[in-house]
Symmetry: C2
Amino acid sequence: METKIDKSIELKAKLVLINSKLHFNGMVDGNQPISIDYIPPIGDGLGYTSLELLLLSFSSCLGSALLTFLRRMQKNIDGFEINANGVRNTEHPTGFKTITLEILIKSNNTTDSEVSKLIKMAEETYCPVWAMVKGNVKVETVVVIQ
Amino acid sequence: METKIDKSIELKAKLVLINSKLHFNGMVDGNQPISIDYIPPIGDGLGYTSLELLLLSFSSCLGSALLTFLRRMQKNIDGFEINANGVRNTEHPTGFKTITLEILIKSNNTTDSEVSKLIKMAEETYCPVWAMVKGNVKVETVVVIQ
């Protein structure tokens, strides 16, 4: 479908409308298409909304940065989840006013303060999605070590 | 899995690590999970990257805004696609320096200049994802009416 590209430099994605409202297939070569739609009555609620995809983009970006550092620090990671919650602005543009990321880590040798330092590093340098929303969205994080 | 929420106000998503590197399942209640991973050797390339999800978030946001206006204007839409391309910064944070969105519309009664006006409205007011990256990413659009 698409030619091989170096994803450390450049990325591509394709969106195709598949009904007469707002139901799309989102695609990147080699991956299962993502069903994307908007909430009724404007859409039919048949897939992820754009803002839910943004929450997953942000969570996976932060999660990847944190896990990379935690493993370099020889931490045992027996489970890792992020619950993302975004509250929209009430006026247009109705993007997120606040995003809250609850980070759950199962680890017997990791402390809250170690993770908090890594979150700070991710915010400042290593999480590109955070950098892209910086100044426009308030981001809150909650760390739960289990 | 999750309680019903009003998505016009608040949205939620969940990310769960499913291997010992950076392979995640991304989930929103009622939808097929999205396989998310980072490129080798840091990840295994088993799913969408965070930045590809951002491209799909942005494309579907802009697409939804444009289609909503085009239909209000009684335009015939026989096909609609967006090809998104993002070029990353070479230094950390390696988010997008530039995102290019090529918007392909099959329509026998729509002009380039009408779509360009709607893109301007989306940028300024009606595309929340655009508002969230504003000032941090350069966005270019190309319109092709077929």
